[in-house]
């Protein structure tokens, strides 16, 4: 199959979420993951502004401007949800109580370093939000990202060139062409779309990357791009 689109990438990451887990989805593409949660798993989505148990977006006319998620979307609560203040929300995040955070990324290094908050646009103000807290505090950090830049340059690197969000935090990388694990020995491709060879992948990667012995085809159902 061809490269996954954004919805397919989100779908693929969603399939690996642990049953009963607490998951925080970063802004941008990661929020799409909430559309594809496996039906057989009971997962609580955490939002940095204090929600444990984010539900679907509110239906038109049913919105409450005081019930919003980290992306300012007007949402609903799921069954069993609770709400705390920002201090307690970040105590949850920083204290290691989030099983998985899925974050967007500009770059990931083979030691797990993540760069996702500052693309160095001149004179634009910084926006870090909760990214550093999530990357440092979650039990596991997954990056959801395009494998390459628009120009075809590598984003999986030996060392990040952009400012770090946190060192050594990324465990898994879900991309349009591969699912990559970050191990003590560096990148290992565990799933790869058909039609891409190991040599193709290595050429598109800015660091050594191994192909897992049991590397599987990366697949996703047909899902329209937004």
């Amino acid at each position: 199959m061809s490269a996954l689109n954004r919805n397919q990438m989100a779908w693929r990451a969603a399939q690996d979420l642990p049953d009963g887990g607490v998951v925080n989805l970063g802004l941008g593409m990661p929020v799409l993951v909430s559309n594809y949660m496996p039906a057989d798993r009971d997962i609580f989505l955490q939002s940095e502004n204090g929600i444990l148990g984010v539900g679907p977006e509110a239906a038109p006319g049913k919105e409450d401007r005081n019930l919003v998620d980290a992306g300012s979307r007007r949402i609903t609560l799921r069954d069993g949800a609770s709400i705390v203040d920002s201090v307690n929300s970040f105590a949850m995040i920083r204290g290691g109580h989030i099983d998985v955070t899925i974050l967007g990324a500009f770059e990931v290094a083979s030691n797990g370093d993540l760069a996702n908050w500052d693309s160095r646009v001149p004179n634009k103000g910084p926006l870090v939000g909760g990214a550093m807290d999530l990357a440092a505090g979650a039990k596991s950090t997954w990056a959801l990202m395009q494998y390459n830049t628009r120009d075809g340059g590598p984003r999986l690197l030996e060392a990040c060139t952009l400012p770090l969000t946190a060192p050594g935090c990324v465990d898994w990388i879900y991309t349009d062409i591969a699912v990559v694990q970050v191990t003590a020995d560096g990148f290992v491709a565990c799933e790869l779309i058909e039609g891409i060879s190991a040599e193709d992948l290595k050429a598109r990667t800015g660091a050594p990357i191994a192909i897992a012995g049991d590397c599987k085809p990366l697949m996703a159902p047909a899902l329209d791009e937004d």
């Binding site: 502004n49 919003v68 300012s72 203040d85 201090v87 926006l127 440092a136 969000t165 946190a166």
Partner: protein, 225 residues
């Protein structure tokens, strides 16, 4: 004398504000912005203030008006990026060196404010270690992992938004309206709560989310729930 913290107006509730004051503003994503109090603060017009708010530029907050009016000397925030490619008024002032910026990870931001209210002058955290925002901070290893030292933030004035308050200053919030308001109220010398409804009768103890000890003044502004 029976305690009654209900103020007749936002300006009265805020009272005098000195130039150079450190002022905290609650709010996240459209919930919990005390915009009536912010308008009043603009009217009071203190100069050279330090603005402590999650975002310097959130479109639903009026903090940007304070910045545009030239009242702000420094911002302590986790977000300072204007929407779109054009520079926001904050970004122009920042580019020109006319406003100081301290950008803080949001969890460190809220924890530093909580520390300010809880008598903790400093604490260690892993968040921000090894990044530009942690650069220059003291590093110390605990349990084999490096952490950085972060210090408390305290303020002169907190402007927060709740749903209901009573004459004792007890406040309850609607959904995610709490966000930074609860911690900011503990960290400032003077806290004003803008609420939909300020009632004579006490809020039942199990519905109080911010105890009255942390609130100096309550301003009712009405509106829908």
């Amino acid at each position: 004398m029976a305690i009654d913290k209900r103020a007749a107006s936002a300006v009265e509730g805020i009272g005098p504000v000195k130039d150079g004051a450190v002022i905290m503003f609650s709010g996240f994503g459209g919930a919990g912005f005390a915009n009536v109090l912010q308008e009043a603060l603009l009217e009071i017009g203190p100069r050279e203030i330090t603005l402590v708010s999650n975002s310097a530029t959130h479109p639903y907050s009026l903090t940007h008006k304070l910045i545009e009016a030239g009242l702000v000397a420094k911002v302590i925030v986790s977000a300072a990026r204007g929407r779109g490619r054009d520079l926001s008024p904050f970004e122009e002032l920042w580019r020109d060196g006319k406003i100081e910026l301290e950008c803080v990870p949001q969890g460190t931001f809220s924890e530093r404010i909580r520390a300010g209210g809880a008598g903790i002058p400093a604490f260690y955290t892993a968040a921000g270690y090894g990044t530009d925002l942690g650069a220059g901070k003291e590093v110390r290893e605990f349990n084999g992992r490096p952490h950085i030292l972060e210090t408390a933030i305290t303020g002169d004035l907190a402007l927060i938004r709740g749903d209901r308050a009573d004459r004792y200053g007890n406040v309850s919030f609607r959904y995610t309206q709490m966000n930074f308001g609860t911690a900011m109220a503990t960290a400032c010398t003077h806290t004003v709560a803008e609420v939909r409804e300020a009632q004579e009768n006490a809020i039942p103890h199990h519905e109080v989310q911010l105890p009255g000890v942390y609130v100096n003044s309550v301003v009712a502004v009405g509106g829908e729930a």
